[in-house]
Amino acid sequence: MSLKIKALTKSIWVFHLAASPCNNCDIEILDLLTPRWDIERFGIQLVGSVRHADAILVTGSMNRKAHERVKRVISQAPQPCFVIALGNCACSMEMFGASYNQMHCLDEVTKVHAYIAGCPPKPEAMIQGIIALIEAQLAALKK
């Protein structure tokens, strides 16, 4: 088991799930791949199909219409797969919580492994969040 998780932490393929965001977090995710941050150094890659995903980055506050889709996409991911709530909207619905078109926060729908707050989180914060997730997984292994 430990080898599996170790390999997983070295090679996280990320699927990016935009659940009614304002786009800013999404753009910052792509920014992570570009020359200044280049998270391919850590083996993190963006993949196009949820079947290849090891981590799902959810951005946005998930409105009524996106709700069902998000649940379905997350259920299609092969295990083990982490769900990361990226940005204030995904963490807590932020200023859209009161809207008529919102139903649930992300963590009421699925288990969330990591929260990265910020509007949008800086790329450094995202890297830190992912590292914190990896460290938590490795620490859980040692126990």
Partner: protein
């Protein structure tokens, strides 16, 4: 130059033009009698070559107000057609068949404000889910959300 368009509208549609308000040299608000709106819109679009930018609907104290914004590229000005509808049962003829660009925005106004567009070719939900409860129009002023005990269509 500004008045050519306005005069043209006046002479062509006569009584249908209720009021003309010159907000600024390049913005004119023309209040139109609701039944003639598609005709005026078509005249602006087809004969004057105006582009339809967007429409906006509001729920005001005196009823529902819809503004159709047209841009006249060549003359560098905006013509805004204003119609005021009854607040009890708002209903108007659709422009969508004559000015195609209005199709989506009319769908949106229908689902959020509950304005009925007669003769709209494809009236389905645009932004909200398809199972959104009928007669539930969130942008109306008397609409209450779930925190105030109103119906929200959610299981909450």
């Amino acid at each position: 130059m500004a008045d050519e368009v306005v005069e043209g509208l006046k002479s062509k549609f006569g009584d249908a033009i209720i009021d003309i308000h010159e907000k600024s040299p390049d913005k004119t608000y023309v209040t139109v009698a609701p039944p003639r709106l598609p005709d005026v819109a078509e005249y602006l679009y087809k004969d004057l070559g105006a582009r339809f930018s967007i429409a906006s609907g509001m729920h005001m104290a005196h009823g529902f107000e819809i503004l159709y914004h047209f841009a006249l590229d060549a003359k560098h000005r905006f013509i805004n057609l204003r119609v005021i509808l009854d607040s009890e049962k708002p209903s108007i003829d659709s422009c969508a068949k004559r000015v195609p660009a209005t199709e989506w925005i009319e769908r949106e106004m229908w689902e959020l404000l509950g304005i009925e567009f007669r003769g709209h070719p494809d009236m389905r939900h645009l932004l909200l889910t398809d199972d959104w409860p009928e007669g539930n129009y969130p942008l109306r002023q008397d609409w209450k959300d779930w925190r105030e005990g109103g119906e929200n269509g959610s299981e909450k």
